[in-house]
């Protein structure tokens, strides 16, 4: 695509300057402020903040709950995409629409809904508690909230790839006597793997920063159910802005690496599909 030759250079430069200024002011400058505060006392200060026991506990909790959720939602999301693309059944259109629900819902409302359903004084939650299963005010609640909030990512990443895929190869494998499970692992999975990985990484990156649903569900007990974003909030409230910024820098760094990796996976996939079509 060429640049519109017809537009005057003034108009072009004006638009470009507006776009650049907006993104710099709204995104780069604010992020720079966090990084600057995290490093005010150099690496030693940053290291000290991250090494505080409360911060370590919170980071560890955030990492393992996000990881567990990612495993579950990667499997269930891939399965959902498969069922939505390959099968026809009543209620399917409704189900396809319902997948987007977490994107439309405020995460705080998600938290409220989960407490209402699984809280220890509610019917379902009370029953579970008598079975010895603690959800609200426990790590299980955090995982549950994350499962809800990130559910669409894998589904919406895998679905379009699956739709473009011909069913021929699968049918050939099946005709040759391969079991459905074997066909899935050897034929389908290699084709959709980049999309699955993309969806999984987006899930994980999103989960690292989740706040609204968790702050309601988790009970935020230090050392037990206090995640990194909630810990950052606590530090801001307490006026420890450097500590808050230090932990933010770590979370930001991690998320950026994940996003970069997602871009890389997607570009590789595009290159490969171009190569195939040539």
């Amino acid at each position: 695509m060429t640049q519109g030759q017809r537009t005057s250079p003034w108009g072009r430069w004006g638009l470009r300057a507006t776009a650049v200024t907006f993104l710099l002011l709204m995104i780069v400058v604010p992020l720079a402020a966090v990084v600057e505060r995290g490093f005010t006392d150099g690496l030693a200060g940053l290291w000290e903040d991250l090494h505080a026991p409360a911060a370590m506990d919170a980071l560890w909790l955030t990492l393992w709950t996000a990881l567990l959720m990612t495993v579950i939602n990667t499997v269930m999301g891939t399965l959902t995409a498969y069922v939505l693309v390959r099968y026809r059944f009543p209620g399917q259109a409704l189900m396809n629409a319902l997948v987007d629900l977490p994107f439309a819902f405020p995460t705080l409302v998600t938290g409220v809904m989960l407490v209402v359903l699984y809280g220890p004084q509610r019917a379902v939650g009370g029953w579970l508690q008598r079975q010895g299963i603690e959800i609200i005010f426990a790590p299980a609640g955090i995982v549950l909230a994350l499962l809800f909030v990130t559910y669409p990512f894998v589904v919406r990443a895998v679905q379009p790839v699956l739709m473009e895929l011909e069913t021929e190869q699968e049918e050939v494998a099946y005709t040759l006597g391969a079991s459905p499970a074997w066909t899935f692992v050897r034929v389908l999975l290699p084709a959709i793997l980049p999309a699955v990985v993309t969806g999984a990484l987006l899930c994980f990156a999103r989960a690292l920063g989740e706040f609204g649903s968790i702050v309601i569900v988790a009970g935020n007990i230090p050392g037990k159910s206090l995640t990194a974003p909630v810990h950052i909030f606590g530090e801001i409230e307490a006026g420890n802005l450097r500590a808050a910024a230090s932990i933010s820098v770590l979370l930001l760094g991690l998320s950026f690496l994940l996003i970069l990796f997602v871009d890389w996976v997607q570009q590789r996939r595009e290159h490969r599909s171009v190569a195939v079509s040539v």
Partner: protein, 284 residues
Amino acid sequence: MLPSHPEPAKTGSGLGGAAISRGFLIAVVVGYLLVLLAGPLVAIVLEAFDQGLAPLWAALTQPDVLHAFEMTLWISLAAVLLCTLFGTVVAFVLVRQRFIGRAFLNGLVDLPFAVSPVVAGLMYILLFGQQGWFEPWLEAAGIKVIFNWPGMVLATTFVAIPFVIRELMPVLQAVGLDQEQAAHTLGASRWTTFWRVTLPSVKWGLFYGIVLTFARAMGEFGAVLVVSGGISGRTETATLFIFRALDERQQVAGTGVALVMAAFSFSILIVMELLKSRTQEAAQ
């Protein structure tokens, strides 16, 4: 970053013929969806209507609840306006212009998706709060950003920046330049071309982006909580009210406002579904 939303294909027979594994897979997925998404949804409806309509209505018409809804509406509208105006310019520049640093700008657009809302709030505290970068200037000018609506608008705008841009870019790309050039050849000015040719052909994509932006903005909680201080009757939005109500054991009011927001989000979901088919028609 935004996953696309395809409609299911009309054909396809599935993995071989095994009816049992087909039924089993569908049951697993539908079951997961019911437990994960539908269960909590039903629970909050039952909870909010638990004590009948009268207490719910009384709770929802309290002055601080009404003020919170009003606050949410104004903050969201302001954020939508900023995101739409500047987002359209950014999308236009990223699609139609080639320059050094374009890839970098393109990457920047996705960053708000990767930033925790709490961190987004912290950014504005560090810029405009006490000992913040711009605090001396603001102090001199007598402008209060933190614990006030400008900070809330900025934080909400930040988290919602990507939507309009990411929805508009593929549509702009697909539309191309032919029609615009034709209009220009026929003597239309650049403004006329933009309003009469470009905008009508991308309007559904733009509208979809605006709906997503609004949904994200009115549901924002973490960033606004950090920036606003949640002063009841002044800087308290609907989500902040829910948070305070649950803390103060105002169960009916808290779940009631949550239910209203859930219902609103649900209607946004329906609008999104309708728009999807429109945008797909436009793309073809």
